[in-house]
Subunit: 150 residues, 2 copies
């Protein structure tokens, strides 16, 4: 029986260590990643991974795109997310669907940490950071252009 | 661009209606189901579904098993979950992995509603309600036997 409860206290889960969000630390700021389910040997039946990301005040995830979609549920604080040409406000329990190849970036820009559950396919493509041409091609919104951190 | 933010206020999401948990209402009590992501035409890229279940005080989900696994994150209240021979306490942000074929049942038995995000494969088998022989075969714990609602 591999079923289990992983207890949580104040956004820290038993036996789940947080890690730097990415190896390349130049493209984001103040982000921790927690692999909650789907990466351990006894969870191989899951076809997806359940992760928690926490962006500290003033931080942001990398501005990126990929073919695999994201399902996101905010469980801490407030912030904003860029979705191609939109800047959307986020608050507690808001849900975000990030469709394939959407340029996206989360910002903890409301004076508090932004934390969210992000579910993805177990087998997925790696994110790509857009080059200047790609950004010029997709991002027409001046509001988004000013918001992007790269 | 099908990406979007679905705003939430007090556990109600814009344009997401809650439904009765199951057609057969004899096997559970006081449970609402919200399909947050993965069931609409513009979310076909998702290989999984993100749902929210809310169990009202004194309610419980059906005691069942199935081959597909569950990933669960509690986002409201407290309660307990039966996992085969264990009764586990649940509180805010606890994570539950329900492995294939585990007998399971959620109870809102702490004087408040229990709400949780539950992610499952888009294509999955239907749940089975165990018969008496199956329960006798699996459930040795007297504590669990007393807790089960069928």
């Amino acid at each position: 029986m591999e079923s289990k409860v992983v207890k949580c206290s104040d956004y820290e889960w038993d036996s789940v260590s947080h890690k730097e969000y990415k190896d390349d630390q130049s493209c984001y700021k103040g982000v921790q990643r927690y692999s909650l389910l789907g990466t351990r040997n006894d969870e191989q039946a899951l076809n997806f991974e359940t992760r928690y990301f926490e962006v500290e005040t003033g931080g942001y995830t990398s501005f990126e795109y990929h073919r695999h979609p994201h399902s996101v549920v905010v469980i801490r604080g407030m912030g904003t997310v860029i979705l191609d040409n939109e800047v959307c406000e986020l608050s507690l329990h808001d849900v975000v669907y990030i469709a394939p190849n959407t340029l996206h970036q989360f910002h903890a820009d409301h004076g508090e940490s932004l934390g969210f559950i992000c579910t993805v396919d177990r087998y997925r493509d790696r994110p790509t950071l857009p080059d200047k041409d790609k950004i010029d091609d997709i991002v027409e919104s001046e509001k988004v252009r000013k918001k992007i951190k790269i």
